[in-house]
Symmetry: C2
Subunit: 354 residues, 2 copies
Amino acid sequence: MGRRRQAVTIRHVAADAGVSLQTVSRVIHNEPNVRAELRERVQAAIDKLGYVPSIAAQRMSGSRSYLILAINDRDRTIADWRARQGTDWVDQMLLGGMLECAAHGYRMIFELVDTHSAHVERELLAAIAALQPDGVILTPPHSDDPHIVEVLARQHIPFARIGSLGAGGGFSLTMDDAGAARTATLHLAGLGHRRIGFIAGSPEYALSTWRVEGWRAAMAEAGLATEGLLAEGDFSYASGEQAARALLEGEEPPTAIIASSDQMTLATLETARRMGLEVPRQLSLVSFDNTPIVRFTQPPLTAVDQPIAEISARAVDLLIAAKKAGEDAVPAAPVVVPAGLVERQSTAPPPGHA
Amino acid sequence: MGRRRQAVTIRHVAADAGVSLQTVSRVIHNEPNVRAELRERVQAAIDKLGYVPSIAAQRMSGSRSYLILAINDRDRTIADWRARQGTDWVDQMLLGGMLECAAHGYRMIFELVDTHSAHVERELLAAIAALQPDGVILTPPHSDDPHIVEVLARQHIPFARIGSLGAGGGFSLTMDDAGAARTATLHLAGLGHRRIGFIAGSPEYALSTWRVEGWRAAMAEAGLATEGLLAEGDFSYASGEQAARALLEGEEPPTAIIASSDQMTLATLETARRMGLEVPRQLSLVSFDNTPIVRFTQPPLTAVDQPIAEISARAVDLLIAAKKAGEDAVPAAPVVVPAGLVERQSTAPPPGHA
DNA sequence: GTGAAAGCGCTAACAT
DNA sequence: ATGTTAGCGCTTTCAC
């Protein structure tokens, strides 16, 4: 192979334009202290030669690496990928972030890190040492992992924590899970439902709790009781099945159920079907996530849409801004990208309602 | 922010182990000419200090960048992402390639490049100059773009061409599209179908043609005529609708249709429903792609499964091997990762068949 | 087998 | 406003 050198370097541009390296560098970075005339001359040389700075070299000289590291939970990501259930979290996260990166001359690198492992810290440090990213994006459950947060804070790398409100460094972004749960609950209450069940997600995720709280608050607001209407799942289909059964086989079953993930809602739908309950005539359903499959079920599901792509893009944007402005120029308060409720055909007034 | 230096460099390791930088480098790369004792000492220092080489520095000194660039068509990828139809091409491609990269200490970077643009070449060169990847993965339709292929060949960067058989550099990987179409056709013929229609994909993709050829050959093999049984689409839902109508509204409509993408098959299913044709009793359907949605349609679709993740992983593997062994150590013949046929409930014997 | 020296492409700090 | 200098962390000669 032989050592492949950069085809055209800053040196070629400098020679061509008849200026110093530093001037070229200034032009590249739009820095002041360059006469318009020179700037133009340099730019012309850059265009002519097709010069593009090497990010390796840029990183070497202590400036930015132009890399944003997006970290996801290994097990869950691989499981979703293998299952091919249409979960498009990775897709949304990657594209949303990637396009925003591209707009700023950055790249996004996806990395999987174990959750339940003693190596978490080492894995993360290895990725950071190897890549020297300018920013890191954490997703649940890593967003709330104290080890990870601490490592990043100690390294002084700007980082975003999606789906977290915890303290300890970096900045947070949420889709206002409580508000979303509230909206879903009030939507059902507005249709006349009085017994609205809720299937919670894994307690390992902070947002699971927020959603439950949002539901609880909305129920209180509507003057409805919540007793016997909460079941706990872990986002998976199997857990949804169990939770749905617990809810529907009770003495006073709910007439509507909100489940904290599409998989759990799918399980609830199937459970209802097996029990001879027609959706939405006899049971209304609202899902969380709004992954592609919910449009293909019978009936298509009303769902809270997680704006992952947008959150990812926002995170990138803020990270890059933070890098430019100095380490602590990150939002102090959590950034909220509100979720929307997409109404489809799984919700209707309860049986016997006018 | 201040210039962030590498926390622990090769120098620290060398000092800690009491050896030269060079010896550490040799240990890292498993090179010969190091006594076992020294090797151990160095390794111990590496572990102790948690040293991980900076890929920027590695790249700078002319060795590998440990980066593989995966290039996809911008328009199609963004359209798929926005549409949220459950197309998991990106997911499969990324995870498959990424995990293989990780196994070799590499990273995969995703990049979108325009197809129909005068800038293709410049976009690509910019990405290469910035990243200096050790290998590039091309997907259709870029795999057959002579400009791109030529640029890569000229730069002496090993590259993989997925879904291509064209010459001009790099190496090819396919899922044996002709064979897959043949399998699908014979499956239907075996059920007793004699009029098996085929909806082709965009002619811009070489594999579209291969699939048609596979179908044609299989039809001949089974002694069946193909006249009036071929319609052309472009992989999209809309085009599938048109093609399905053309096929089904003819004088002698097919009793089975193979469509070159899930979207087109979905469109065919819907068209059949509107015409009052029951699937699979009156019309059998076989799809291409096997994205998640085909399991959620009524009925679930029998489909040719595109082993994207595996192809992506193979491409990475071969690229890395090529880099190690020298530029031309790439497969001369196309690498075939055969597609499978996943039988579901959209195929049955034709009406009036014993 | 091991080490020392040179330099990759770029930028920060310091001249001028 | 522009140029010069000194590395960044690593690998590649080449010497021993």
